[in-house]
């Protein structure tokens, strides 16, 4: 088992004929991902590394029945691409683009918020990987190893650090998910935790958060109520710079403290989560938990 992607995943690549799309299709195929189709409007009929290309997601779905899609399209076409995939009935959408307007992802979030079986990972995500089975993303897959730990991270680099530290200690991963580093990740920690809780292969979960937003606090509520598996969290940004603040709105909202590293760590601690000081520390804690 694993979550979101595995050996049975039928992956679509939107923007497959672009530079990034082509390169990472090659890398994903090398890893063993079952890339069944690609889409680039106007390029239907071509192939990329043997993968058939279609003009639209609807045509790709009709011909190849993909169940998951990854978008290698520029940020300004991301909203269209996500909606096209959802409209064609694809329920798992992975968006790696950085610089997607906040409003666009707000629209996607609210469009999908009542769809229990729809997962939109990202934007600004490194993708999803179930080591040894399948990857849908651009992560450096060499550092991953199969194993019992599920990982969710807002930061790509911090999750790489953590995975490397784990792999060096012989602790593998069931699935690693980049929830994305933007202001509004669509399917965030609380939506993904039930998947790890239900996954038989996963014995522990790592949550890599950072300052800003309330997703870690919301996840803490879920963990408190529903998680029976141990959770380890690392929160980056305790010493992050404060931006020049314009206006009072931030201060008024911030009066509650939600969004600070301290607020997140307190909420997670209260939910029984093990707090790590660094990616390396995550691996140390896991070593003890899984011993």
């Amino acid at each position: 088992m694993s979550v979101l992607v595995d050996k049975n995943t039928r992956l679509l690549v939107q923007g497959i004929t672009g530079r990034e799309g082509h390169f990472h299709t090659t890398r994903m195929l090398e890893y063993g991902t079952n890339v069944v189709a690609g889409v680039t409007p106007g390029k239907g009929g071509q192939t990329v590394e043997g993968v058939p290309v279609y003009d639209s997601v609807a045509e790709a779905v009709a011909a190849q029945q993909p169940d998951t899609t990854i978008l290698f399209v520029p940020p300004r076409f991301t909203l269209d691409g996500i909606f096209e995939a959802l409209n064609a009935g694809i329920r798992k959408v992975i968006t790696i683009a950085e610089g997607v307007p906040v409003r666009d992802m707000m629209e996607v979030y609210h469009y999908t918020k009542n769809m229990p079986d729809v997962y939109v990972i990202g934007p600004n995500s490194f993708g999803v990987i179930s080591p040894g089975k399948s990857k849908a993303g651009f992560m450096a897959h060499e550092i991953y190893s199969p194993g019992p730990v599920g990982i969710m991270s807002r930061s790509a680099t911090n999750s790489y650090e953590t995975v490397l530290a784990m792999t060096r200690r012989g602790i593998g991963q069931s699935t690693a998910i980049g929830v994305g580093g933007d202001m509004i990740p669509v399917s965030s920690f609380a939506k993904l935790l039930p998947l790890f809780q239900a996954d038989e292969e996963t014995k522990a979960v790592v949550l890599i958060g950072e300052i800003g937003g309330a997703d870690e606090e919301i996840a803490a509520e879920y963990i408190k109520k529903h998680m029976t598996k141990p959770v380890v969290a690392y929160i980056a940004g305790r010493n992050a710079p404060k931006g020049k603040v314009m206006g009072h709105a931030g201060a008024i909202v911030g009066a509650s403290g939600v969004g600070s590293a301290q607020s997140k760590i307190e909420a997670l601690t209260a939910a029984g989560v093990h707090i790590a000081d660094s990616p390396n520390h995550v691996a140390e804690i896991l070593e003890k938990l899984l011993a």
């Binding site: 680099t157 790489y160 202001m183």
Partner: protein, 382 residues
């Protein structure tokens, strides 16, 4: 992208939200002519992209052109909370009954616009937030509903507005501001004070607008405002190269270069834990080539506070050999006095380490992990 008050007010007027009559003054030449459409008394307001302008002395009053000139001489070119004053907004004073507070920002928990309103507006609103939080109405608006009558009712009720006429005015302003916020991809729209005039109408006496940088491309009117907004030289240079330059702390001594904000935060955290302090950071984003990495290093080292530089890369899209090549190029082509601690992981790591090991420069220090790198970058300063 933060807008000046006068630019924000241009947007307000475009959407039909009234503002006081005013003129933007950038030079005191022909002042009489510039102000001829205004009546007196006026308010002279420094245009700066930061809060607390009033308390810092950036707002003055004038009863005639001579007094405007005096105020202008004092303010134009002065530095207010780190911002140089390049422009003034001279506005007619209006007869005010009350000062309200109204803002829209994003509530990241619910992913909805958050409207905040209080009858106790003005400079002390943050104090109100602390001592009487119940006096500030907070309403999230589901963007699939848009702002509705009942949202406005709730804002008025909690905010303490009971007069039916003022409630109606307020609802109009809230709807207008919401449309502006949503359609113009704002991340903040704040009116403080929103002034209640003697005739029962509301007028925006200030404007703080912040537009989502990722969405500026689709608003021609806001793109046109961009050039008036000053950008710090290093930030601009980085942006032109496609990087993000971040000022961290004026008292810091370490520069950080990395790929991704998460890693940058971790670098800052590690260096702080070791007793050091980062002064600035550069985010390369994904996929930087050697040439561009060298450019990035040059930009960071233009900050004279940087006494040592930490480059920490975890290669995914970014390749470690390109990073190493960039470090080598920067060191070879320039004569920095600053040691560079490099830590590479991920895609093409071995190739990158090979390049660095062959470099044979004392300024290039290699570290195997982030803790080691943080340690070495501080020791290198001693």
């Amino acid at each position: 992208m933060k807008l000046y008050e006068y630019q924000g007010k241009e947007l307000f007027r475009q959407y039909g939200l009234p503002t006081p009559k005013g003129v933007v003054v950038k030079s005191l030449d022909n002042l009489e002519e510039q102000l001829q459409s205004l009546g007196f008394p006026v308010v002279v307001k420094s245009q700066v992209l930061t809060g607390g302008r009033g308390k810092a002395g950036g707002v003055l009053f004038a009863d005639n052109v001579a007094e405007v000139r005096a105020a202008g001489s004092k303010l134009l070119g002065s530095v207010l909370k780190d911002c140089t004053v390049d422009a003034l907004l001279v506005e007619e004073k209006v007869a005010v009954v009350e000062e309200y507070y109204l803002s829209i920002t994003v509530d990241r928990a619910s992913r909805m616009p958050l409207v905040m309103f209080s009858r106790s507006g003005g400079m002390d609103i943050e104090e109100v937030a602390k001592t009487r939080p119940e006096a500030i109405a907070k309403v999230t608006v589901d963007p699939q509903m848009g702002v509705r009558g009942f949202h406005c009712e709730m804002l008025a009720k909690v905010g303490g507005v009971t007069d039916p006429g003022i409630k109606k005015e307020l609802a109009k302003v809230v709807k207008t501001l919401y449309n502006l916020y949503y359609q113009k991809d704002a991340t903040l729209v704040e009116v403080n004070p929103l002034m209640l005039l003697t005739d029962g109408t509301l007028i925006a006496a200030d404007a703080k607008v912040d537009i989502d940088d990722s969405a500026v491309y689709r608003h021609a009117d806001i793109r046109a405002m961009e050039e008036a907004v000053p950008v710090a030289p290093l930030v601009k240079e980085a942006r032109d190269t496609g990087f993000l330059y971040i000022d961290v702390d004026e008292t810091g001594t370490v520069g950080v270069i990395s790929n991704g904000s998460g890693m940058i935060m971790s670098c800052i955290d590690w260096i702080a834990r070791q007793g050091g302090q980062v002064t600035c950071a550069l985010d390369l984003g994904g996929g930087a080539t050697a040439d561009r990495v060298a450019e990035g290093i040059k930009i960071v080292l233009k900050n004279s506070r940087v006494k040592s530089l930490l480059i920490s890369i975890f290669g995914g899209i970014t390749r470690c050999d390109e990073i190493a090549g960039g470090v080598l190029k920067a060191v070879t082509e320039n004569d920095f006095g600053v040691p560079i601690v490099t830590r590479l992981e991920g895609t093409n790591k071995e190739k990158g380490l090979q390049i660095l090991s062959e470099a044979d420069s004392k300024k290039i220090i290699v570290a195997a992990s982030l803790p080691e790198a943080a340690d070495k970058v501080l020791k290198a300063q001693q």
